[in-house]
């Protein structure tokens, strides 16, 4: 078996606020292999961004790693200081954010912003760096890269800007790329092309991608594996096929049936009642219990462990316990005929 490039072991992250401790990420474990795309799905505030930023140590000082380990490429980086992290950022770990305009410097030509990243991490001459940057622009599908190299970001459209950001992120051959809602701000047609680009780059370079999104359609297109987060915990993880066609957690059932494309004509959309919990004082048992129509008595007392369904598929719900009563899931997602 190959060694995973990224491994989180029982990771918990808290923020200290004047109101008290906010438990943003609670006991998360996962691993990511080379060339794999893992999608992190969840509603806003569920901790998906905090989790990915904690790996790059981009979180503010009020946060702290309460327990657990972050292992990148075999090295435990949990205790790394800023100086050590700087070496990792860009060369091993890289990140693409939602809004390309705030990531890019509006006054500096995009080509220069890419070479900056290359010169920082690699011992190459300026001319070599320029050549590499042009190659990068070519890789992310920008036409006429020699000319585009010297233009400022405002000459580019939203989709093109996001490609430039991707070029910067990939410039020094990182091993893991975090894409935090990287296609959310784009139009559907541009988004679809961007997703295919990410998928192509993965095949070409063997980079592992953590793709954070709230759009299940987008996730279906790109992800090999899917992890669904709720209230700081991973509630279900498995291959895309397992999670989409055979979901086991009631929250995932809720998410799937809330989609308009799953609704039957003339019927109201199924929505999940209530609101996600406030993590200032997380509930003692299963955080989803109060919104869960299948909640068992034990859900209110004790948090469920991860139940293994197949070697790659597991979910945290007491419904999978052998003592749990048999229930019928509300929807049986249909598989479409392939196009």
């Amino acid at each position: 078996m190959t060694k995973p490039v990224l491994q989180l072991v029982n990771l918990s992250i808290s923020f200290d606020t004047p109101q008290g401790e906010v438990e943003a990420v609670r006991d998360v474990s996962l691993s990511l292999n080379k060339g794999e795309i893992l999608a992190l799905v969840g509603e806003s505030g569920c901790g998906k961004t905090v989790m990915s930023q904690s790996v790059l140590k981009l979180l503010p000082k009020t946060s702290r790693i309460k327990q657990g380990q972050i292992i990148v490429d075999g090295d435990d980086i949990t205790g790394y200081k800023e100086k050590q992290m700087r070496k990792l950022r860009g060369s091993v770990l890289s990140m693409v954010f939602q809004d390309p305009m705030t990531t890019l410097n509006p006054t500096i030509p995009v080509g220069k912003q890419i070479t900056e990243s290359i010169l920082k991490h690699e011992k190459v001459s300026k001319e070599q760096a320029r050549q590499q940057a042009i190659e990068m622009l070519n890789l992310v599908g920008i036409n006429n890269p020699e000319y585009m190299f010297s233009l400022q970001p405002h000459f580019f459209s939203g989709g093109m800007r996001q490609r430039c950001v991707l070029a910067i992120a990939l410039a020094s051959n990182p091993k893991v790329l975090f894409a935090d809602e990287a296609t959310t701000a784009l139009d559907v047609t541009v988004q679809a092309r961007m997703l295919d680009l990410l998928s192509d780059i993965r095949h070409q370079t063997g980079i592992a991608i953590v793709f954070i999104s709230h759009d299940l359609g987008v996730v279906a297109r790109i992800a090999d594996r899917v992890a669904v987060m709720y209230a700081g915990k991973i509630v279900e993880i498995g291959t895309a096929e397992e999670v989409f066609y055979d979901p086991r957690h009631p929250y995932v059932w809720g998410l799937m049936s809330a989609l308009p494309s799953r609704a039957r004509e003339g019927e109201a959309l199924t929505s999940i009642p209530g609101m996600p919990p406030i993590m200032l004082d997380p509930p003692r048992g299963d955080a989803f219990a109060v919104r869960n129509q299948f909640a068992l008595e034990i859900d209110y007392r004790e948090a469920p462990p991860m139940f293994q369904i197949s070697p790659t598929h597991s979910a945290a719900t007491w419904l999978l316990d052998e003592r749990a009563p048999e229930i019928m899931p509300p929807i049986l997602p249909k598989r479409r005929a392939s196009a």
Partner: protein
């Protein structure tokens, strides 16, 4: 003109003059009508001019040329707009995408919802106001405890509910919703869409629903128009448009919508449409009520 249509837009143009070399033709000749009690959807990508259409209808920007008729009155003309200002303000309401920006952070929910009632002198008595407030909050699924809260204190979905209550307060004939659910989470989106649908059935207002998410449009709208660079490229009944799209742009848009189905999605082939290709011509009715730009 039939009396059934509540809003009729005729060859509407909205050009923004930047300098003598550049004029942005945000809306460039758009014609449609919305019937009484109908949900009309407007889809398009960023910059296609769909929000400008809404703003021009509302009178936020005056149209460069073309006509807007609201309940048979030509409101695109300044004189007529001024004459019927009160009636227009009462009967045409808008809901924006970003509820955080649309609601004044220094007013309580109560004040926000009551403002149109007071300004339009619909309800004067204090008791009447309280009753109406309670009814409106209940209708949008909020309870009385929200009355004294400020917008930053409540979640995005709840804020959007307040914005909806405010729009409903004057019992308008037409509600324009500009991307009302785009900034919400999936499970909350479903709640708001259900709310829109039940309110629309109950009050029978006409609805101009602007979105970029085709799956929501498909679910909620009776008729849909697809917009590209300031013009409509296709307009038809929702079912017809989704089952039988004719314009290549509509087809590429439909093919790009991500479907939550991994096996289907990964084998799907995208249709490309070069937006720079010829985008002139006229809307021609190809079959009953199905118009395509040709």
């Amino acid at each position: 003109m039939s009396t059934a249509d509540i809003l009729r837009v005729d060859n509407l143009k909205q050009h923004f003059y930047i300098n003598k070399n550049l004029t942005i033709r945000a809306v460039d000749g758009v014609t449609f009508q919305i019937n009484q009690g109908e949900v009309f959807g407007l889809v398009g990508e960023t910059g296609s001019g769909k929000s400008t259409v809404a703003r021009t209808i509302m009178g936020i920007n005056m149209a460069t040329s073309g006509e807007v008729y609201f309940k048979g009155r030509k409101i695109s003309e300044k004189k007529i707009y001024k004459q019927h200002k009160k009636d227009i303000h009462r009967n045409m309401q808008i809901i924006f995408q970003d509820s955080a920006a649309a609601l004044n952070p220094r007013m309580t929910v109560e004040q926000i919802i009551a403002e149109p009632l007071k300004v339009n002198r619909i309800i004067d008595s204090k008791n009447g106001l309280r009753e109406t407030l309670e009814r409106l909050l209940l209708e949008v699924g909020l309870d009385n405890t929200f009355r004294t809260k400020y917008p930053p204190e409540i979640s995005g979905g709840q804020r959007q509910r307040v914005a909806i209550a405010r729009a409903l307060s004057t019992s308008p004939d037409l509600i324009i919703a500009d991307e009302p659910i785009a900034s919400l989470d999936v499970s909350i989106q479903a709640q708001i869409v259900n709310l829109f649908q039940s309110l629309q059935r109950e009050h029978q207002f006409s609805f101009l629903f602007i979105a970029h998410d085709l799956s929501i449009i498909k679910y909620i709208c009776d008729r849909v128009a697809v917009m590209l660079e300031g013009r409509f490229v296709e307009m038809a009944a929702t079912k017809e448009l989704f089952e039988n799209p004719l314009h290549p742009y509509t087809r590429s848009l439909l093919s790009a919508v991500p479907v939550p189905d991994p096996i289907y999605e990964k084998s799907k082939i995208l249709l490309n449409y070069d937006v720079r290709s010829k985008n002139t011509g006229r809307m021609i009715e190809v079959s009953n009520e199905h118009y395509v730009l040709q």
